[in-house]
Amino acid sequence: MRSLLRLLPAFPALLLAACTEPPNNPYPAGQSRQSVLYSAFSERPKHLDPARSYSENEYVFIGNIYEPALQYHFLKRPYVLEPLTLTAMPQVRYLDAQGQQVRADGPVSFSEYELRLQPGIRYQPHPAFAKRPDGRPRYVPMDPAELADIERFTQFHETGTRELTAADYAFQIRRLADPRVQSPLLGFMLDYIVGLEALSQAIGEEAKRGARERFIDLERFEFPGVTVVDRYTWRIRIHGKYPQFQYWLAMPFFAPVPREAERFYRQPGMAEKNFTLDWQPVGTGAYYLAENDPNRVMLLRRNPHYHEDYFPAGHPDAGKRLPMVDEVIYSLEKENVPYWNKFLQGYYDASGVSSDSFDQAIRIGADGNPDLTPDMRARGIRLSTSVRTSNWYLGFNMLDPVLGGLAERQRKLRQALSIALDFEEYISIFLNGRGLPGQGPLPPGIFGAREGKAGINPVVYTWDGKQARRRPLADARRLLAEAGYPGGRDARTGEPLTLYLDTMDSGPEAKSRLDWYRKQFARLDIQLVVRSTDYNRFQDKMRKGNAQMFEWGWNADYPDPENFLFLLYGPNRKVGNNGENAANYQNPAFDRLFEQIKEMENGPARQALIDEMVHIVREDAPWVFAYYPKSFALRHGWVMNAEPNLMAHNQLKYRRVDGAARAAYQQRWNRPVWWPLVLSLALLVTAIWPVAASYRKHLRAAARA
């Protein structure tokens, strides 16, 4: 009792604080007013080293810190590349085996890209560049005593900068080959960049002799693949013709990394304190990583030495000096329930739309396309929708005896299932309409994907004049019967057909999705057994090929049809070659066409070949083309220039924010409700009174009954 009384005086103080700032504002007082962007990340970024990082949630950061040679134009659709740190797009020269220049359609064995750098681009302030008065690097070699009492990276007080040079770009390509960096792209680029394999072996040998983490001067090694012509020019030589190589140049793999940084980080004692390039990036981009705590917050601050960069033409903000926002704060938000609530309270500037919060945010307008609900509109929130350049499919294991192989029986079974799985219903229940039913392997917005009547998959849909109509269930039953399973029972043995779906999804959503699949197969009286496992077992099954049906998807690395069709290219088989062709689909005709379009430029010729390939795949139906996801993004009124650009990752510099509007919104939508607190206190006090009364009666009582 007495302990509760002691807590009472604390409550008035709390009430006072509420008037000025909404009590539930998670950020320091007054910060909402400044030029700051609030966003969140759900998964801890594991690697920020441009050579090693290859996942979406890490590109959000290094995309804005590092500046590769090229970038996607912010406004143009379909996506097109433009120079970022170059004076002009790279020139390509084709050479024959002896290194003599030849014409594009001649016997090309090498292609050489020459890139010229803009002068005057400088790095972010970083201790690696700090110099002592006599010019020697301040922190190299690192005095162990000084390092001992440095706990956080920001305690390296002295920083410096340096102009970006071509050697930095060359140095990064050499780092790709360093086995200690374990770059995921190394295996892929070995076939293209000349001499990369030899370089990798050489560095590997050197690394074995002596401490693995010590500094090795990569520039000592002989490496024909990349030559630095002069301070601002360098050439990259690759085997054969590979037009898509320029897309790779726009990715962080080919961003510049200064030699001083490698020298600075690879010193003894640095790794134990997490001072490594993998955790503390150094780049020339618009922002640098000011605070790096992967369990709580990642803070990007404006790079004071950022080169002149202006908003592209054709937009109200054209000509403005970039970047326009001082700081971007990413808070860790593991669960999407709190994320959505905080977005509505104005503590996050933008948010996706989960299937649970869909009805609250989106309603379908009269014209049939999605629009904001009145509640959202009242809050001044804006919606932007875009079809993502990725696809999602239900794959059949082509090596499976029951439904694999190109034979007639299995093909008809797969076609029957393609018709029976009603992905329109799936999209409306689980994605709330945010997706287009899949017609083929290429999502819209990628060269070669056709729209409207020409784009439908005749095996599954018919065109009723205005839109694609899924074929009736009867067609599926007929195909099933022709496949030898009339009414879902094996014609010969009468056994019910049982198919197995392998999945690794065990989250809260899993139960309802798996029940839905069972319901779909039941429409053809086919028993579906779902085998849900963890990530490892699922990968094992896929590698050994003993999964029967599985769900998979692919996000485009770059906007080229090759990046999707290679998923069905025979030699890329999962079983045996551990490639990305998960269905182990092998169709010689398809493979021959793929090798042709791989090196063609976009044009009508390439379009014709792609149409033929898509037709083959639709007939063989190794996949049920489920859907192409559409992404809905919501953002508050005070955030400008946040149009979705799925390819580019350096969009932060184009954002603009109105702090005052945000603070006002927060104030309006977070008025605290105090009556429950007052009520509970009152209840507490009234409860004390009877207790005291009965005690007093006890004291006065005499012994006689």
Binding site: H698, L699, R700, A701, A702, A703, R704, A705
Partner: protein, 625 residues
């Protein structure tokens, strides 16, 4: 000067529990003058403790006082509000309890516990309090240094002294002592009783002594009130009560006491059990068990009548004589203790030449230099640094059919010796010869067969029988283990015989131990021991947990068995009067050694060792004998 002392009239306490209405204290009245000691005498379950708690108003929640009046001096205690009563409790009216080992707060120093009382009643704190505490400790015979000790560092006697000091802090007019020495040894008991007597006289305090021991009451009290089943059945001055006890129950209490002079005779016994607290009583509560009961006793409840200036009795045998002439009119059958029934073939009278007492030749049990040492381990490697010598070189022997009493205070090693003889624990040295065969070397099956020869009966009837087994199964366990040749039928026959032999109904085999009284359970324990027809029975304080009347029944039973089956007894006890009555030879133990051994009569009359002399002197009631 306000009248001093305590007056209680018509006190009635009621307990309502699980639908049943119990009246453990009914119409109790007595008075204690200043500087007077009154003893409230009664067997367990007669309501004496509850009466004391009622006076202190410390009854448990389920009980309340429903009638009666209690006046401390001129204060009506029952009418006081709880707050005021708190001032009286521990102040003018104080109380000490039976279990000194658990009555002190184990985690507080003695000085603090006494200081609390001083602060509560005399407002003494700090230095003044410390001085007063030292004075109080001196008054109760504890040296001042003891005040900083914790209770676990004091012996039983010292704790009782500390408790007394605590209660004296409030300078009480009346001190209630609820069986203060029952849990103590004879020597310590004597000191505590002398201390109470001395305090009472020096401080002019009234003392209400609650006890079940006639001798203690005899030593201490000026007047004695005898309670039975919640009522005072007789009160009188000590002289008058001990000279001419009038109420049949009181007379029975005297008759059942084992005395050396009654050796060889059967003790008078009191059949039946104390009536349950919720029983409805029409007539006299003792009627069912009273040898002189007649119809009126059952029909009409007698009231407490003054039959002499210093004697009152609640019994229809007496008429209220006018106080003047002091004679008490008697009615109907004269009451005289029944002639001592001869026990048929009791073992030979003392003094008669019994079978030649060969020392070793035909001794049933021969113990030579038996020693049991418990190692004390200390330090990191648990090295042995010393040992507690519980039994340190004991030699004794028992002839067939003979009873050897083993006497000594608690902690002298008598129970350890018994356990060592029975090989329930391994002796460190020495030999145990049973009927000529040395037990030391035996192991496993050969040891098990010898176990048939000797058995044991324990002290606490409540923990010596497995509560979860039926009596029949308990009795059969011995036979099933040691007489495997018997089949189920033979075993159940033997069970019936044994039950009949110890005076229990045959249907007892089907019931569980908790349905029997303490006395009946001890009979079951004896029956269990007899099922395997042992030749030696070790009795570890078999009667000290029982009321006197029940103790008599057990002693008679043991005497009959020994007479009929010629069993030898190793009778362990600290009660010298029982030794005098039952044992032929006595061995006195102290600190793990036998300090004196010899025939019972000679040893009790002319003890040779100083320790035995002090033991005999301390035994209550010997002054009057």
């Amino acid at each position: 000067m306000s009248r001093r002392g305590l007056r209680v009239e018509g006190l009635r306490v009621q307990i309502s529990q699980a639908g049943r209405l119990l009246v453990p204290v009914d119409d109790v009245g007595f008075a204690i003058g200043a500087n007077e000691c009154v003893a409230l005498l009664g067997e367990s379950g007669c309501g004496k403790s509850l009466t004391a708690l009622a006076l202190m108003r410390l009854l448990p929640e389920v009980a309340q006082v429903t009638a009666g009046r209690v006046d401390l001096g001129d204060t009506d205690l029952l009418g006081l509000p709880e707050l005021a009563m708190r001032g009286v409790r521990g102040g003018r009216l104080a109380m000490i309890f039976q279990e000194p080992m658990t009555s002190l707060n184990p985690v507080m120093r003695v000085a603090d516990q006494i200081g609390e009382a001083l602060a509560a009643h005399r407002g003494l704190v700090g230095e003044a309090a410390r001085a007063e505490v030292e004075r109080l400790l001196q008054a109760v015979g504890l040296d001042a240094g003891r005040q900083w000790d914790y209770p676990f560092q004091l012996s039983g006697g010292q704790r009782q002294r500390a408790l007394i000091a605590m209660m004296l802090a409030g300078e009480p007019e009346v001190l209630i002592a609820d069986e203060p020495t029952t849990a103590l040894d004879v020597l310590v008991q004597d000191q505590i009783l002398k201390l109470l007597k001395d305090l009472q006289t020096r401080r002019g305090m009234s003392l209400l002594l609650i006890t079940h021991d006639l001798d203690v009451a005899g030593d201490m009290a000026d007047r004695v009130a005898v309670m039975y089943a919640g009522q005072i059945v007789e009160w009188a001055s000590r002289a008058s009560l001990y000279a001419t006890p009038r109420h049949p129950y009181t007379r029975k209490l005297f008759a059942v006491l084992p005395r050396p002079e009654r050796r060889g005779q059967r003790l008078d016994s009191l059949p039946g059990r104390v009536p349950a607290a919720d029983a409805q009583h029409l007539g006299c509560r003792f009627a069912d068990r009273c040898p002189e009961a007649f119809p009126r006793c059952h029909g009409e409840a007698p009231s407490l009548l003054q039959v002499a200036p210093d004697h009152a009795v609640r019994c229809h045998l007496f008429f209220p004589a006018d106080i003047g002439n002091g004679a008490s009119a008697r009615v109907a059958a004269p009451i005289s203790p029944p002639p001592p029934a001869r026990v048929e073939s009791m073992q030979p009278e003392p003094g008669e030449p019994g079978p030649p007492r060969g020392r070793a030749a035909d001794a049933l049990l021969e113990v030579r230099d038996l020693a049991v040492h418990f190692p004390i381990r200390r330090g990191l490697l648990r090295r042995v640094v010393g040992s507690i010598k519980a039994v340190d070189g004991v030699s004794l022997s028992i002839a067939p059919g003979e009873t050897l009493a083993l006497v000594g205070e608690s902690g002298c090693g008598k129970t350890t010796l018994a356990r060592a003889v029975l090989r329930l624990l391994e002796p460190t040295a020495g030999q145990v010869m049973l009927a000529g065969r040395d037990l030391a070397g035996l192991r496993g099956e050969r040891l098990r067969r010898l176990r048939r020869e000797m058995q044991i009966v324990f002290q606490d009837p409540f923990s010596s029988l497995n509560p979860r087994m039926k009596v029949g199964a308990i009795l059969e366990e011995g036979m099933r283990s040691l007489l495997p040749e018997l089949d189920a039928q033979a075993r159940s026959e033997r069970v019936a015989v044994r039950l009949e032999q110890v005076g229990l109904p045959a249907d007892a085999a089907g019931r569980h131990p908790h349905e029997f009284s303490g006395g009946q359970r001890q009979r079951i324990a004896i029956a269990r021991a007899l099922t395997v027809e042992p030749r030696l029975l070790i009795l570890d304080e078999p009667t000290s947990a029982l009321d006197v009347s029940v103790q008599a029944q057990i002693l008679n039973l043991l005497a009959d068995i020994q007479a009929r089956q010629g069993l030898a007894y190793l009778f362990i006890t600290h009660n010298l009067s029982v030794v005098g009555y039952l044992a032929q030879r006595v061995a006195v133990m102290q600190g793990g050694r036998v300090v004196e051994e010899g025939r019972a009569e000679t040893l009790l009359a002319r003890p040779r060792s100083d320790y035995t002399r002090r033991l005999l002197a301390a035994a209550p009631g010997h002054l009057r004998a």
